[in-house]
Symmetry: C2
Subunit: 277 residues, 2 copies
């Protein structure tokens, strides 16, 4: 995700210092005009705005607070933007640490996948101070299209968790409907078409429903990564005292599929938890 | 539902014989030009096509097979159309009985509620022979807009069950997301708006999500009736060997809300099962 996002920033005229834990993506971006940095700290010393895009909470924590991390190179008035999908609580704690050192931080997770990253059409859900959001808006606009500030620090991550809850729950509902249609002798393709015209309409019925009918589970968004995000959502539920029974059920079905070897398939493969479509 | 549907048929130029178990709707339709019939059997003796619109499987069975029922007045070449939402198995059995007496039968449940019935904009999901469907299409077009034949006898009811599964599962997912947003300190209205632009988009997020935010649970579609339909879906799942864990969970939550006195509220009140939004 980071590479195409960095390219879109350069295309929009931003000068970039880049660091990546594995060398190849960094070398590619250097050959396209970015300054190579030896560590997250060095990126920070060279930049006004530091953007992180990493797999999980622990990665962001390490890259920010580690000995050669971003916070070790921070200066007053800098802005940090974390675009990874991580735990809202972690996002809040890191923003507090940054604030203590005189820097602003936004959590700005995205949806839209690698295709959205390449086409600069990511949805970006932002949490943090309104003035900081407005200052960073041109940066976001270089990478995305549907850019919304949803609240204070951590709210971007909450919004992303809400997105993953709805997407997972809708995939599950569509799965149950299409498998029932097939097994009970209705044509699932006709059922999908009929239901698109009414209250059952959704982007998931349209896109993932079609993938299920085609039995095409090439990702897309990998089941393994969706499960990671569901665990963030469930853990946020526990932290804020919200019961999430549907999400817990879907996460459990995802676990069972991953145990069966479907970790790298598209999340529409959730339908397989119900048997053959 | 039956009254506005009958009005739209008369408006389209069809001559109607009507019977209703409680007298008032029938008297109204008589005053508007329909012929009053003393029983379902009498409706059958006066008609080429008989349409039934009733609350549940047992009602349709009684009105069709009872001593003064439709089948007692049936003649060869007649067409029966049941537009109620009933068990797919019952729809198939009644169609077989009608076929033995030389009559065709379509199952044609609808979605779109009373407003759809009044505006002749119902979605109509039809199961039965293709030639019978085409013969009856003008009749359906007088009452609805999105009219799809999804397969043989019973398939219309299967499609309706699929619709109710998806609607219920999506309401549950949207509920979990919006409650988490609120409790975790994001603005649920902003979250809804942000998510409408991506893969979490659905008619349910749009319409029922807004009802949840407004705490407006005036029906709409009553929780009690949605639970009835979920029981049809779950029972079809058992009949055809399909596991429906998400649907079973939502049905259970609906039961709990109905026990708390929410039976006559809109199905978006499902959000209350998670505590206050």
């Amino acid at each position: 995700m980071g590479r195409p996002m960095a390219r879109n920033l350069m295309r929009a005229g931003y000068k970039l210092a880049v660091h990546n834990r594995s060398p190849q993506p960094q070398q590619e971006l250097e050959s396209e005009g970015a300054i190579g940095a030896g560590s997250p700290r060095e990126v920070a010393t060279l930049s006004d705005i530091v953007i992180t895009m990493l797999p999980d909470s622990s990665d962001v924590e390490a890259v920010l607070t580690g000995p050669k991390g971003v916070l070790a190179g921070i200066t007053k008035g800098m802005t940090l933007i974390d675009m990874s999908t991580i735990a809202p609580g972690m996002a809040r704690r890191l923003a507090l640490q940054a604030a203590e050192m005189g820097a602003d931080m936004l959590d700005a997770p995205v949806s839209g996948g690698e295709i959205g990253a390449i086409n600069a059409s990511l949805s970006i859900m932002v949490g943090g101070k309104e003035e900081v959001f407005h200052r960073c808006l041109p940066v976001f606009q270089a990478m995305g299209k549907n850019i919304v500030r949803v609240g204070e620090s951590g709210a971007g991550q909450i919004c992303k968790a809400c997105n993953q809850i709805i997407v997972a729950g809708t995939i599950q509902a569509v799965s149950e409907a299409l498998v029932l249609a097939r097994k009970a002798g209705a044509d699932p393709a006709m059922v999908r078409q009929a239901l698109m015209g009414g209250f059952a309409q959704s982007r998931i019925l349209e896109v993932h429903g079609q993938r299920m009918l085609d039995r095409d589970f090439a990702p897309g968004f990998r089941l393994r990564l969706h499960l990671k995000d569901m665990k963030i959502a469930l853990s946020a539920g526990r932290e804020y005292g919200v019961v999430l029974p549907g999400s817990a059920l879907v996460a459990e079905l995802m676990e069972s599929l991953i145990a069966k070897g479907c970790a790298e398939e598209d999340h529409s493969a959730l339908v397989k938890a119900l048997g053959d479509l």
